[in-house]
């Protein structure tokens, strides 16, 4: 295998994955087939792991990634993980802007920080709030939020600004699209993360992947024990440091002619650049794991002790803070529930229950990007702390399209089941409540019936009222909680019909009406 082949195949795969996934997340016109986003989401490590562990689907991508990593290192991190590729792009852009090459240096690993983040995530998952931890820290989901919440509205604005021009030159393929901005509460996380990424990339290469990212740490541990590892042929090495200059992870130590393979993301830049062809894969299982200052292995090593105590302290601190926050949230939740199944926040059809949804969803926002009406919006504190940034149904913005099951189609981690349309038509995510005193028909004595007009199941219907008016009326059994009535109710300041969510979703009654008959059977004109 030629040395160039490795790097360029990595670059080609990475760019293809990144372009396709970004297109899926940014697509505001439903031009990109939904399956592209779904597939590329499904092959990501965390969504696949969540789907497998929760039994949502037999998703083997995580196992394949682990096996590949154990064989040849962290190929996932620089070729498949969109956040990893995004950092490469940021790296290129910032270096191009500053017209500066990377410093030729080796960075020491921040082992205790890495372990703290990994173990905190694992303990959080075991303690039952993995959904929360993973949604914060999964690299794919973090990329999804940046793409969906920042890139997408920006692309929409860019599109809107050129529609007029396109029309003038006679090209009518473009049209304006309402940009959907996440609320400021939910938007701050992706914005802060994007800024943090830029800063980290500028100061220290792949600091995110090799310090904060639990997937990076986990795969790094496997990579450290990989069957084949990139190694420097000491006899060939002239110590020209060309490899150091191109190493994204800054994990090449020329003094000891070693590569910290736990931090190497298998980008193959060094393989490509080495004129002596001195870097390449070597079968490494016959060797001992390199003992060096990078990974102190001596049992009584004081450094190791410090590492363990720091890690433990970090975990304890994070878990403690989380516990306190969660406890306070449960308390306030308990006080506001009038009925056991009541929920002030509504999760999408197919998510089965708020609890299951929060456990499984990693908040990648693919469903938010793909939702044709924009009814899915990222939550801020509506679900409480554990549900921050997870999608919720926002009936102020829009309502759920009756025949649409797109969120279930695209969801990569099985948080939203794929319903068939007939099942979706009966899936009850909430129930409308009518506040007839606020209804326009009552307050204004004029016809309205916007709610009944939009109701797809006719749970809201009209009955004769007053002087030739029609008043909305509700059949709870038929309501699926799609929010159309609430969205269009014109009553001000408070809507006269509001959907209340169900914590555990249920079923609406199916009504089959007989065939309608002619109002006045006649073979002639009635006029």
């Amino acid at each position: 295998m030629s040395s160039r082949f490795l790097k360029w195949s990595r670059v080609v795969v990475a760019l293809a994955v990144f372009a396709a996934l970004t297109a899926a997340f940014v697509d505001f016109r439903e031009l990109v087939p939904w399956k592209i986003g779904h597939w590329l989401g499904e092959i990501q490590f965390v969504p696949s792991l969540v789907a497998l562990l929760t039994g949502a689907s037999l998703s083997l991508a995580c196992i394949i990634i682990a096996v590949v990593t154990l064989a040849v290192g962290r190929v996932y991190c620089s070729a498949i993980c969109p956040l990893g590729i995004l950092q490469d792009i940021i790296d290129r852009l910032t270096r191009w802007l500053k017209r500066k090459s990377r410093p030729a240096s080796f960075s020491r690993p921040h082992t205790w920080l890495r372990q703290t983040f990994l173990w905190t995530t694992i303990i959080a998952a075991v303690a039952g709030w993995g959904g929360f931890a993973l949604s914060l820290i999964d690299p794919y989901s973090n990329f999804g939020r940046i793409a969906s919440d920042i890139f997408r509205p920006l692309a929409t604005l860019a599109n809107n600004s050129v529609v007029g021009l396109a029309d003038k030159v006679g090209w009518h393929g473009l049209f304006r699209v309402e940009p959907h901005w996440a609320g400021t509460g939910a938007l701050h996380q992706p914005v802060i993360l994007l800024i943090l990424l830029v800063v980290l990339v500028v100061i220290g290469g792949l600091l995110y992947c090799n310090t904060l990212c639990p997937v990076g740490t986990l795969l790094g541990w496997l990579s450290k024990h990989a069957v084949f590892r990139l190694q420097i042929e000491k006899s060939a090495c002239r110590k020209c440091a060309a490899c150091l200059k191109v190493c994204k992870a800054r994990c090449i130590d020329l003094q000891s002619s070693s590569i910290d393979f736990s931090r190497c993301v298998a980008c193959y830049n060094c393989v490509d650049v080495c004129e002596e062809q001195g870097i390449g894969y070597r079968f490494a299982w016959t060797q001992k794991v390199p003992v060096s200052k990078i990974a102190p292995d001596a049992v009584r090593d004081p450094q190791r002790r410090a590492f363990i105590s720091k890690t433990m302290l970090g975990i304890a601190g994070t878990v403690g803070v989380g516990r306190v926050l969660l406890a306070s949230e449960k308390l306030s939740d308990g006080n506001t529930k009038p009925t056991p199944n009541f929920s002030s926040v509504i999760c999408p059809p197919g998510s089965a229950s708020v609890e299951r949804f929060l456990d499984r969803c990693t908040a990648c926002h693919l469903c938010i990007s793909e939702c044709p009406t924009g009814v899915l919006q990222p939550a801020f504190m509506e679900y409480g702390l554990t549900g921050i940034m997870k999608p919720r149904m926002d009936f102020n913005t829009a309502f759920c399209n009756f025949d649409c099951v797109r969120c279930g189609e695209v969801c990569p981690d099985g948080a939203i089941d794929l319903l068939n349309v007939a099942t979706k038509h009966l899936t009850k995510i909430g129930e409308a409540r009518l506040f007839i005193d606020q209804c326009v028909v009552v307050t204004n004595s004029t016809d309205c019936a916007a709610c009944s007009e939009h109701c797809p199941t006719k749970a809201v219907f009209t009955i004769p009222y007053g002087n030739n008016l029609r008043l909305p009326s509700l059949n709870d059994d038929l309501c699926i909680g799609c929010g159309a009535c609430e969205n269009v109710c014109p009553a001000k300041p408070d809507k006269a019909i509001v959907v209340t969510g169900w914590r555990k979703h249920g079923w609406a009654k199916k009504v089959i009406e007989s065939k309608a008959t002619m109002p006045k059977p006649t073979g002639d004109f009635p006029f």
């Binding site: 016109r29 439903e30 009518h172 049209f175 304006r176 309402e178 044709p372 009406t373 829009a398 399209n401 009756f402 025949d403 649409c404 326009v440 204004n444 004029t446 016809d447 309205c448 019936a449 916007a450 009944s452 007009e453 939009h454 109701c455 797809p456 199941t457 006719k458 219907f461 009209t462 030739n468 029609r470 269009v488 014109p490 009553a491 001000k492 009406e513 007989s514 065939k515 309608a516 008959t517 002619m518 109002p519 006045k520 004109f525 009635p526 006029f527």
Partner: protein, 314 residues
């Protein structure tokens, strides 16, 4: 003297209600006319309503238009045409919630055959607009006929206009295609409506304003009538081939439809809606926006006063 003054007044009023071309005829007929015949209806140009039964959609439309002198009577060479179907719902043609593609397609073909420079369509939809356009079958029609299907949700395409004769709706943002097109053809589908009893031609024009909610909040029926004082369609084509007679205007299933195989065409939007109401077994006066529009002299609700031309194709 009193009778002569009354006669002149009446004559002026009638003259104002007639197209310029007919004025000569009116004055030519001046002298021999007696008082009695002036106050009676015949001198006032009667609205024409063509009603066709028992044919396929395109065939009924062909028959109706032929009875009105063909599409050429409405669309002149080089004119821009707006065809306004009902595309409000993400619903397939067989559920009858949107204007049927067959009817709309034939209308567009007729416009082009008459020499139209361009034909455009849009609707400010209730459901998500791209799905409405695609699933109603009208996107396909636009492609097949090379009509332009325009985004009805783009607020920048609407212009705020004053509606001085409106009682409740005195200004509104109206789609520029309505304001700027030479010819405006209204092609709705007849349906039951939970709020307004019946939805036909007048109600379909809610889809040309940006803020539909204003209508609902203020006075649905009055606003529907008020908008007509701004601009009335050149021609109204009401498809009653298989009207939805319950669960309207969205409908639940094909069981909500009854097959009537009827098509109505008129330049009088009130008369055509009155006939539509009768097809659904309602008195036109019970449908408040029809009654209000008639009262505001926007058309004739009393079908006795309309020149109804009936055709049966089978």
């Amino acid at each position: 003297m009193k009778t002569r003054r009354a006669f002149i007044k009446a004559g002026l009023a009638i003259g104002a209600s007639l197209p310029l071309a007919n004025l000569e005829k009116l004055f030519a007929a001046d002298l021999p006319v007696t008082n009695a015949s002036v106050s009676a209806a015949p001198l006032r140009a009667k609205s024409i309503l063509v009603a066709v039964r028992d044919g396929e959609r395109a065939a009924m439309l062909d028959k109706a238009m032929a009875a009105l002198g063909g599409m050429e009577a409405f669309v002149k060479k080089g004119q821009t045409v707006l065809v306004k179907p009902n595309i409000g719902w993400d619903s397939p043609p067989e559920l009858g919630a949107d204007s049927h593609p067959e009817t709309v397609k034939r209308v567009i073909e007729m416009c082009y055959a008459a020499g139209a420079k361009s034909v455009s369509m849009f609707d400010n939809t209730c459901d998500q607009w791209q799905r409405c356009y695609a699933n109603s079958g009208l996107e396909k029609v636009a492609k097949e006929t090379s009509a332009t299907l325009v985004n009805g949700k783009d607020g920048t395409l609407y212009r705020e206009v004053e509606i001085p004769s409106g009682k409740k709706l005195q200004k509104s943002k109206v789609h520029s295609l309505v304001l700027d097109s030479d010819v405006f053809i209204n092609v709705p589908v007849l349906k039951h409506h939970g709020g307004t009893l019946v939805t036909g031609c007048m109600k379909n024009l809610m889809g040309i304003v940006l803020d539909r909610g204003f209508y609902h909040r203020v006075d649905l029926h009055q606003c529907i009538a008020d908008l007509l004082t701004l601009k009335k369609p050149t021609l109204n084509i009401l498809d009653a081939y298989a009207p939805m007679i319950r669960n309207g205007p969205r409908g639940k299933s094909a069981d909500d439809l009854v097959v009537m195989r009827t098509l109505l065409v008129s330049t009088d939007i009130v008369a055509i809606d009155a006939a539509g109401a009768k097809l659904l077994n309602h008195q036109p006066s019970d449908v408040r926006h029809i009654a209000i529009a008639a009262e505001m002299n926007l058309g004739t609700m009393d079908l006795e006063q309309v020149d109804v031309r009936r055709f049966k194709l089978a």
